[in-house]
């Protein structure tokens, strides 16, 4: 079942086009990996989907409804977004940070259900022990989980993750990816994640969209997208693609010298 449909979306900052006629689809219970070099438009695409920025042309349909016709609160109940740089200027406990995910449901007082949802989510992500800690004291991996928890308490249908593993050590990378994947499966959500690591994408994404220069270069199963030829053309990198348990495994060899 199609959850999200992005049709011919174009976005430019001032005169600089960032996305040009981008179209993608995501199904229910699917993890879509968005790959591409720096500046390919991955983050911009995620921001357009959550209406953090508004594309100049094209339309985005969530459950066949145009997101520009939805209120911000309504959208916040359906889409959870985890930005690339996680920070919190002022101190806040992990509990309160995760509780902010209930903002779309809260007018002023928090209800028992809000507290219950927060506690359940903390438990699900195994970060109960952090509940009363200050978010600013956490490590990168813990912080990432807290922000995932915050997005999950929004009870969304669709998760958008902007490079969720970029600052994490290898153990936390695997932990976070596993968490995302299992939640998507268990709760029947959809997830789109912008990601740099080709191998993590190959392993955890059901489908991959490879972007280059603001357009979709290739779209399909990891094995069909992550080919030597595609990697050479998009990244300018010579790579070897092996297969490990049916998934492509990429070994980068060297950057191809500019012609």
């Amino acid at each position: 079942m199609v959850k999200l449909k992005v049709k011919d979306v174009t976005f430019s900052y001032a005169r600089e086009p960032v996305l040009e006629a981008v179209s993608i689809e995501v199904s229910t219970a699917e993890v879509l990996g968005v790959l591409g070099p720096n500046g390919a438009g991955k983050s911009t695409l995620l921001k357009c989907i959550d209406r953090i920025i508004t594309p100049q042309t094209g339309c985005i349909l969530l459950d066949d409804r145009d997101i520009t016709k939805m209120s911000r609160i309504e959208l916040a109940k359906k889409i959870g977004y985890i930005p690339q740089s996680l920070s919190h200027v002022f101190s806040a406990t992990v509990f309160d940070t995760v509780l902010m995910g209930r903002r779309p449901y809260i007018s002023w007082r928090t209800s028992e259900r809000d507290t219950e949802t927060v506690l359940e989510t903390l438990q699900m992500l195994h970060i109960e022990d952090l509940a009363m800690r200050d978010v600013n004291e956490l490590s990168g991996g813990q912080m990432q989980k807290v922000f995932i928890a915050r997005a999950l308490t929004q009870e969304p249908d669709l998760l958008l993750l902007d490079e969720p593993t970029s600052n994490l050590d290898i153990r936390h990378q695997l932990e976070v990816m596993h968490t995302i994947k299992s939640i998507v499966r268990r709760k029947g959500l959809s997830a789109i994640m912008a990601i740099h690591d080709l191998n993590l994408a190959a392993r955890y994404a059901d489908r991959i969209v490879l972007m280059n220069g603001g357009t979709i270069f290739s779209d399909g199963k990891p094995a069909s997208v992550l080919t030597c030829e595609n990697i050479r053309q998009v990244y300018g990198v010579e790579a070897e693609v092996n297969y490990n348990r049916g998934k492509p495994y990429i070994v980068p060899i060297q950057a191809i010298k500019a012609k």
Binding site: K47, D50, R51, I52, S71, R72, I73, E74, L75, A76, K77, I79, G80, Y81, P83, S85, L86, S87, H88, V89, F90, S91, A92, T93, F95, D96, T97, M100, G101, R103, P104, I106, W108, T115, L119, L122, Q123, E128, D129, A131, M132, D134, N136, E137, F147, A151, Q154, L160
Partner: protein, 361 residues
């Protein structure tokens, strides 16, 4: 997951532990707020005994209590109600207002160094006052000339920032830079007035800028200030949740359903109105708006639902204490309260920074 019922007595599930701990944390916040209220009452009582006419603390409380129901008649009652209380009440209101405006501004521009004056409002008000004092020019005539001028110019600077953020988007960096630019412009214009002004007028301008709680604290003025605070502060508090989300960045806030630009502009204008209505009567009392929010954050954390009322009340404690300390030593000479807040606040602030156990912003 273990079921929540039928567990071994004496053990608790993780969730219950978190609940209990969170409840304790909330209790601490409430306690701090109550403690601040008690402190205000105590300091106010002591402050009302100070002055040439001797009145004891117990008399003060009884006079205040009875004065709520009948008009003051005896000398003591008149001294307390007409001479001493107005200044004390102005101290409480100004402390509340400036501290809340500071808390709001810090959340709005997402910067712990912001104060009610960050966006140029103080120097604009100062220029308005100087214009009235030096040239006698202003929007109204009579006793309200200086007040009205300070108020109008303070809001004028806010509207310039508002206009800019409508045009360029309400980004913290834009707002802060524009505020700093305005501050320099108004300071330069005040400088010109002082340079060419007469000596007595210049002295008055300088005195205005130090801040004072006694000069314009009539009950009519106090009613006006209370009315504005009574409207603006609840509106700011209604935005607590949205201000909390701003701390994680605009993108996060938007994804949580917050109208970021509107929140920023509305809260900034409310904080400006609060600040303007206070400093037009008191002059620019500094430091409270910067420090009260920080001290409270160290004690009760950054949740604006509690932080806003707490820092308001604690701001009142600080300002009232400063104003009380400003009096006795070289009585009858009264030090400007704006200077004492700094003398008292800076050591306290440094002490807290040096002894804090963890980062709090």
């Amino acid at each position: 997951m273990p079921p929540s019922t039928g567990e071994i007595p004496g053990t608790r599930t993780k969730s219950e532990e978190i609940r209990a701990e969170y409840k304790k944390f909330t209790g601490r916040k409430v306690l701090f707020i109550l403690f601040s209220i008690v402190l205000i009452a105590v300091i106010a009582g002591v402050a009302a005994t100070l002055g040439p006419y001797p009145i004891t603390v117990t008399e003060v409380y009884s006079i205040i209590w009875h004065g709520l129901f009948k008009t003051p008649e005896t000398t003591k009652e008149l001294v307390v109600w007409n001479l001493r209380l107005p200044r004390i009440v102005m101290g409480i209101l100004a402390g509340i207002g400036l501290a809340i405006a500071g808390t709001t501004m810090q959340a709005v521009v997402r910067n712990p160094l912001a104060s009610p004056y960050t966006l140029g409002i103080a120097s604009a008000a100062g220029f308005g006052a100087a214009l009235a004092i030096v040239l006698g020019a202003g929007f109204v005539t009579g006793q309200y000339l200086i007040v009205a001028n300070a108020f109008v110019f303070a809001l004028l600077s806010s509207f310039v920032i508002y206009g800019l953020s409508r045009y360029k988007g309400a980004e913290p960096e834009t707002m802060i830079l524009a505020g700093i630019a305005l501050m320099y412009l108004f300071s330069a214009m005040t400088g010109i007035l002082q340079y060419f002004g007469e000596e007595t007028a210049v002295a008055e301008v300088v005195f205005w800028m130090f801040g004072s709680l006694s000069k314009r604290s009539s009950w009519e003025n106090l009613t006006l200030v209370s009315a504005i605070l009574a409207v603006c502060i609840p509106l700011i508090m209604l935005k607590s949740w949205d201000l909390n989300t701003l701390s994680a960045g605009d993108e996060s806030a938007k994804s949580l359903g917050v109208n970021v630009e509107q929140t920023r502009v509305v809260c900034f204008m409310l904080a400006s109105l609060v600040t303007a209505c206070i400093i037009c009567f008191t002059g620019t009392i500094g430091f409270i708006g910067l420090v009260a929010p920080h001290i409270c954050r160290m004690v009760i954390g950054g949740d604006n639902r509690y932080l806003i009322p707490a820092s308001g009340l604690f701001g009142a404690v600080l300002l009232l204490a400063a104003d009380t300390l400003a009096r006795p030593p070289i009585s009858p000479t009264i030090l400007p309260v704006g200077l004492v807040t700094a003398f008292m606040g800076v050591p306290l602030f440094l002490y807290l920074i040096l002894t804090r156990k963890k980062r709090y912003w």
